[in-house]
């Protein structure tokens, strides 16, 4: 028996099933909250911090990730205040400066309003979103790869021949990885990275329809919850 609660997201009063997260509810309803590490069907860890929203209680607002925030009766959420827009912009800027060789991340950056990148570009081939790790642990329970190390040294690895021993060849790690979708111009040479944004997700979208889902094909690159529809990965 599903219980429902009423939540207020950006002024819209929405009936949401108890136990669901604010992000899921918003996406379902058509409100665009950019996200990266969230994948429908997998656990949410709040790692990328892109889906932040303001949770307003007793007149005070707290910035928190909507993927880990469970809906509660009477909740008041704002997804696109100036404060949130700026914070999200800065986080997206960090991501694209780290890994410009990913169409998904380039698109997210543009969607979050990044017009200029103020840090030197790097050429990482992993942003540690953890999608592959969670998919491997939660879909077929193979546990063939995982996070290793800490802080700056944290990375995804398949140590000790685990690939041969445990991998079930389900291919989800590859399918879900935001890095495996390349920009239309091909991989950028190290030292020659730049901010792309030439693809379908034009800058206009962020300005014309800042907080509604416009089926912008942005989501195609990283299985945006809305774009993937109700097709859960399981």
């Amino acid at each position: 028996m599903l219980h429902y609660v009423s939540v207020n997201i950006d002024g819209a009063i929405i009936k949401a099933p108890k136990g669901s997260s604010v992000l899921e509810v918003a996406i379902e309803y058509g409100i665009c909250i950019p996200h990266l590490c969230h994948v429908p069907g997998l656990s949410d860890i709040g790692a990328c911090r892109l889906c932040i929203v303001e949770n307003i209680t007793d007149g005070r607002s707290q910035v928190t990730t909507s993927c880990t925030l469970k809906v509660q009766e009477g909740m008041v959420i704002r997804t696109n205040t100036d404060r949130i827009k700026r914070l999200r912009h800065n986080i997206a800027e960090l991501l694209v400066a780290e890994a410009p060789n990913s169409r998904a991340i380039q698109d997210i950056a543009v969607r979050c309003g990044v017009k200029k990148v103020r840090y030197p570009f790097r050429n990482s081939n992993c942003v540690l979103c953890g999608r592959c790790v969670r998919a491997c642990a939660e879909i077929w329970h193979a546990n063939a790869l995982g996070f290793v190390g800490r802080g700056k040294n944290r990375h995804v690895e398949r140590p000790l021949n685990m690939r041969e021993e445990f991998c079930k060849q389900c291919d989800y790690c590859v399918q879900l990885c935001p890095m495996t979708i390349t920009p239309c111009d091909g991989p950028m040479k190290p030292g020659e990275e730049y901010l792309c944004g030439k693809c379908e997700s034009q800058l206009m979208i962020t300005e014309e329809v800042p907080d509604s889902c416009a089926w912008c094909r942005l989501g195609e690159g990283f299985n945006c919850g809305r774009y993937a529809g109700v097709k859960a990965v399981r």
């Binding site: 290793v148 800490r150 140590p159 685990m162 445990f166």
Partner: protein, 178 residues
């Protein structure tokens, strides 16, 4: 690898995944590092996926995935020691031994650890050799300390060689009398 120590560590801990860190502590103490075989046994016995064991072993500083040197020179880089010149000690150790923190010298004798605080702040800068604290260290004192160990080790090796060669019927490379 001597598995009997591992067996006694794992005894009574079947299917207790929350004991993972305690078990790894015991393995680290017994073997000086976490061997791969140990990780596999732990994974099976505690019921934790192997990647989790590896992950925990690689996350915490206490666990080494490679054997350490015979003498571990630990240099404290806590704030109080830092302000008193701990960086000088680290530079000294790295320069004298030719290795970086986490590595072992080619002869397996020394390795350097760089930790965040040993908790004896009023006595800094602190270095420790295999757990025994050396306080108010200076680069010169550290140089002497390392040289002394080297000297003692070389003497020991020479003495062992000499006594081996003096033994009747002992193997001799050359025909020259001793």
């Amino acid at each position: 690898m001597n598995l009997s120590k591992l067996e006694s560590i794992l005894k009574g801990r079947n299917s207790q995944p929350h004991q993972l860190i305690e078990v790894l502590q015991d393995v680290q103490e017994s073997y000086g590092y976490i061997p791969e075989e140990a990780m596999r046994e732990i994974s099976k016995t505690l019921g934790v996926p192997l990647i989790e064991v590896y992950r925990v072993a690689s996350f915490y500083k206490a666990f080494k995935l490679k054997p350490t040197g015979k003498y571990v020179i630990t240099i404290c880089n806590g704030t109080a020691c830092h302000v008193r010149g701990a960086q000088l000690l680290l530079d000294q150790a790295m320069g004298q031994l030719g290795i970086k923190p986490g590595d072992v010298t080619d002869d397996g004798m020394f390795s350097i650890e760089h930790v965040n605080c040993l908790g004896a702040c009023a006595l800094g800068p602190i270095a420790s050799g295999n757990g025994s604290f050396l306080h108010h260290m200076t680069p010169a004192k550290l140089r002497k300390f390392i040289e002394t160990i080297r000297h003692e080790e070389t003497e020991e090796v020479n003495n062992a060689k000499a006594s081996h060669e003096r033994r009747p019927g002992g193997h001799r490379e050359t025909a020259s009398p001793r």
